[in-house]
Subunit: 421 residues, 2 copies
Amino acid sequence: MTEKKLSTDSYKGVRDFYPEDMAIQRYIFETWSKTAERFGFERYDASILESSELYKAKGAENEELVNEQTYTFIDRGDREVTLRPEMTPTVARMVAGARHELTFPLRWYSIPNLFRYERPQRGRLREHWQFNCDIFGADDISADIEMIALSYQTLIDFGATPEMFEILLNDRREMADLYNSVGIIDEEIIAAITRLTDRKKKISAEEYHTYLLEIVGDELLAKKITHIVEDQSGTNKVLEGVRSLGIDNIRIDRTIARGFNYYTSTVFEIVDCDPTNNRSMLGGGRYDNLTTMFSGDAISGIGFGMGDVTMRDFLETHALIPAHIRSTAPHVMVIPMETEQNLFAEQVAMHIRKAGHKVATDIGTRKVGKKIGSASDKGCRFVIVIGEQEMKTDSLTIKNLLSGEERINTLSALMNFLNEA
Amino acid sequence: MTEKKLSTDSYKGVRDFYPEDMAIQRYIFETWSKTAERFGFERYDASILESSELYKAKGAENEELVNEQTYTFIDRGDREVTLRPEMTPTVARMVAGARHELTFPLRWYSIPNLFRYERPQRGRLREHWQFNCDIFGADDISADIEMIALSYQTLIDFGATPEMFEILLNDRREMADLYNSVGIIDEEIIAAITRLTDRKKKISAEEYHTYLLEIVGDELLAKKITHIVEDQSGTNKVLEGVRSLGIDNIRIDRTIARGFNYYTSTVFEIVDCDPTNNRSMLGGGRYDNLTTMFSGDAISGIGFGMGDVTMRDFLETHALIPAHIRSTAPHVMVIPMETEQNLFAEQVAMHIRKAGHKVATDIGTRKVGKKIGSASDKGCRFVIVIGEQEMKTDSLTIKNLLSGEERINTLSALMNFLNEA
């Protein structure tokens, strides 16, 4: 009878990061981080565990989201806990909690992992990471302009050119004014139109028209609304401000609404212009009332979030992942010929590391030829092979795997050769 | 009637990382990462969500741990899911899953967050991060020696001196031999003695004796065992090997057992020598059979884990956190005097960033004096104040907050001043 063996698969809808994938993930996180810090943003973080209340507080729609689309469970202390599905409520909680110690405007960023309990599909997994940037306590539209500039610069810092992507801008207050101008005043009807229009690009013109008619009940009114949301000639001060920073791949798109209820005016998205990856990669907006669910005055905020999965898809679509970041090879591989030389190899490696080099030993039991082959395949720059002779004489042979050049000398003398390379 | 306000507290037993704490956390993670990579370790990661089976497979003791000390819940697909309480089972799963594509020996590290459902206390929270390093596929003791050298070097790279900490080494096979030598052969009795001895430093000599008597039922035998576990004169090849690398703050401690069942021979800990923080900071050992819970042959492993909470306690106890890492201030703060100058300030900031500097704007509505004061408190190096005049003339004033020196010139001319600083 054999013991039941466990599967080596990861849990459904989440990813294992083997070193090659991890290297790409780190490259993405580090680039995000560098760009945010050049804009003066400070990094924060929090636990993935949050009280479920935090997500229910925003209204009935969110209660449904908490119940059906999140990982929520009761802990042994009878608390209802949720694995955070987004970062904005957490950051609002932290800002509200420390409001008296913080100096505004505040620029904060984070790279949290987020959880959604939904069917895994391309670009949407159950766990993903997100680059989250927010400015708190700045009501002026220059904050909106800066946030858009930061989102633009993030892609530029990955080597993207402005032709590869487009920034789509809208404003919820302007939309309300436009709807008011054709006689639609009722907030619930506006909300329904907004939700439908948000999906406009994903459905056919006929479907859009049918659903719109259901909401407004009048053919002429439906046409007027369609005219409003399809009009690309609009402009506003945020658009002009962004352009004044030398950013031209931005336009008004009246269909942009963003899903979250809490946005109050500016909303924006970045979409990939490549037809094979024509998706929204980033979304954000201004939310002026989010901290009011805690005690104290409202603190205005504007922010965006950008996912790691869509980011990597964008980089791969446009061939923007630099080859060198995939290599995680040590600079020097010290190769003992037999197990008897393993400890000496460790001593040599320890010595070389003192000069700051990345050094590993191949203390496996394979033949020396195989070991050298692996070091070369991996991308190591140097190998030092150690046999019985080398242990006795203190004279070592180092080989540059790129040039084929070899040197034989004492370890101290060889250090110069290594340091020059 | 007022709406019920939410608490701004984090969930029980977890931490919020405000920028100052986050800066320390990042310093710890980056130092860990650099040391591991200098030893040729490659970084991997995985999701915090794992099938609960993974933790139950190691035996009944673990089933209890899964049920009582982990966050475990049933997902909507009726799968039992656990928030990972440790990383070793995950890395064993990943290594076993890719065994045919990987080249051994494998050196992998990770900095995962781990979850334990226990009462929060000093140094033990419900969520913590851990530096996890493992070598797979190297049976020779040079791997054990290297792992101990890596754990030593990690502390040295934080600026610790060898007097600040001590490495305690033991070997489970040697312990079995020692117990056998006084006539104790039964594995369950050895396991019971091991569990008790692991707690020896936390209980009194009397308590230890009483419990030991209960296990072995014989006064003389209890004395022999006490003699064995208190003997510090022992040595072994791992100890000698570590010393041959120039590491002297290591000794045999026969009470070291480490909690996990899966360790098979070498086990080690690092303890802080400061009497105010006299705790274990790191623990590890060799586990030769862990991958056998998946299909395929056994792949030997040796690894250690080091927590972020105990690491930070150690650094604080020995005053090893460098002051400069706490500062997250931008290099330049651009300060508009009035809201009308905000957009111009954003344009100036955008220009300076192109030279790679960290630049923020203070687009709040406070008085300019307050804004300069905040920039100075925060640790900004330069301020550029922009009023109506500056917008008209294209001539800007930059002030070095450290030296007090001021320059007035065009932005392009001022860039040199900034770049030199």
